[in-house]
């Protein structure tokens, strides 16, 4: 256990000394590390103002998977176009993928260690802010494959079996959270759409009722004025 702490300390020292490049060697002894410590997930919403670009940089080691999904929940303004441009870049600055839609996702394997850049650009709208729900994170599947092999050798060790089962359950819980967040993004966007439909029905019906009353009153007024004019023309004839 002391060797494990020493190894972790060495890795951290290597990370701190090379903080400028934010690069570190892959952890060879990752077999003993808890898997969830490397996995990371974030889900929140942001407001992107017209013409602006919002970027987030997520750290990922190599030989992992980074997922990035987004959903435009609502527009705050006049425009109704909800398209947004999402891009992902490597730590070196190269473009990985681009997605331009109301909802989408960019998933890729991480080839190098560093901060991957995830950007959202609100360039279709010039007069509306956009509330976008983000769901991004990174996970690693390598140690699980190793543990499947080592599981055969250590079936008699109860504590190792408990630890291995716990690690697998945590991995499944992580992916459950990931897909739950994807479903929740869609549901919240649908709820905002429903709320706008509710208010749309109310104010449009109110406006239509006012239009009916106004057209009735105007009809009566102009009809009366028609007969008033014809009455005036009768007097000079008599």
């Amino acid at each position: 256990m002391f060797a494990l702490l020493l190894e972790a300390g060495l890795v951290v020292l290597s990370l701190v000394t090379s903080a400028k490049s934010q690069r570190t060697d892959p952890l060879h002894g990752s077999k003993d590390q808890p898997l969830l410590r490397g996995a990371d997930r974030h889900d929140f919403a942001i407001v992107v103002h017209p013409g602006n670009t919002e970027c987030f940089w997520q750290f990922a080691d190599q030989m992992g998977y980074l997922y990035f999904s987004y959903e435009v929940q609502r527009t705050l303004g006049m425009s109704h176009d909800r398209h947004i441009v999402a891009t992902a870049h490597t730590p070196q600055g190269f473009l990985i993928d681009t997605s331009q839609d109301v909802r989408g996702q960019i998933n890729f394997a991480t080839q190098e260690t560093g901060f991957y850049q995830l950007c959202l650009k609100n360039e279709q709208n010039r007069f509306s802010s956009i509330q976008v729900y983000l769901n991004f994170g990174v996970f690693y599947e390598g140690p699980e494959m190793d543990h499947k092999q080592s599981q055969r050798k250590q079936l008699n060790d109860t504590l190792d079996a408990i630890e291995d089962s716990t690690r697998r359950v945590q991995n499944h819980v992580f992916h459950m959270w990931r897909f739950y967040n994807s479903a929740r993004m869609r549901k919240v966007a649908d709820f905002f759409l429903l709320q706008s439909n509710y208010s749309y029905v109310n104010w449009w019906s109110t406006a239509q009722s006012l239009a009916i009353v106004l057209s009735g009153v105007l009809q009566l007024y102009f009809l009366k004025r028609l007969f008033t004019i014809s009455t005036d023309t009768k007097k000079p004839r008599c």
């Binding site: 972790a8 300390g9 951290v12 969830l36 410590r37 919403a45 940089w57 709820f191 029905v201 009722s209």
Partner: protein, 214 residues
């Protein structure tokens, strides 16, 4: 030695989060949709842009961070922290919580080159067990703490499912209200239409009688 190792390991786990950029006097907000009675832990760190080196400094000397958390225009947290810190709050009611971060820079005008890099790690419904796991001396304690982390995850799943039921109920109520409003607005407009017609006929009849046209 042990304390230093733990701090360094915390630094390692801290760098696994994400960061974003903000102007020195710019307020950045993120919106978290969380259930009620949930502990939120946010850890942040500011790095200041060095114009001379064209890179970010390792820290931001002299700067602090205002953290404001609001939910439905109710302020849950409004506090000034240092350049690196951890904020906690518990959500009383479910819904969208807006977490805003703004530096306490006293520069009157924000120059084009002055920007900050804000590292942020937000944990929903989790206590900081990673440091405890690192501190575990033997495998039994390590497995026990991992199981405790798993149990906390399960409890958070239960809270999210309760919140999901609340959202579905709200969704159903709003859908039924919209459906009912459409029906009643149709009836109301028919009544308004008939009333306007009757009103027109009555007034026109009186007008014609007054003018002795009929």
């Amino acid at each position: 030695m042990q304390t230093q190792t733990i701090l360094l390991c915390f630094s390692f786990s801290f760098s696994a989060a994400f960061y974003f950029h903000a102007g020195e006097r710019e307020e950045k907000c993120i919106i978290e949709d969380i259930p009620s009675d949930t502990l939120i832990t946010g850890t942040f760190k500011i790095q200041q842009w060095d114009i001379g080196r064209h890179d970010f400094l390792e820290s931001a000397p002299g700067l602090g961070m205002f953290v404001t958390v609001t939910n439905n225009d109710e302020v849950l947290l409004s506090k000034l922290y240092g350049a690196q810190g951890t904020f906690y709050f518990t959500s009383h009611s479910s819904g969208e919580h807006i977490i805003c971060l703004e530096s306490n820079s006293t520069q009157f005008v924000s120059f084009g080159g002055s920007k900050l890099r804000i590292h942020l790690d937000i944990r929903v419904g989790e206590h900081d067990l990673d440091a405890v796991i690192v501190q575990a001396k033997d495998k039994v304690n390590e497995v026990a703490f991992t199981l405790r982390h798993l149990i906390e995850q399960i409890e958070q799943i239960l809270k999210e499912q309760d919140y999901q039921r609340d959202r579905e109920e709200n969704f159903r109520i709003t859908s039924e209200d919209t459906n009912r409003n459409v029906l009643w607005w149709a009836f109301a407009q028919i009544l308004i239409f008939i009333s306007v017609g009757i009103f027109q006929m009555k007034h026109l009849k009186d007008f014609f009688i007054a003018k002795k046209l009929v």
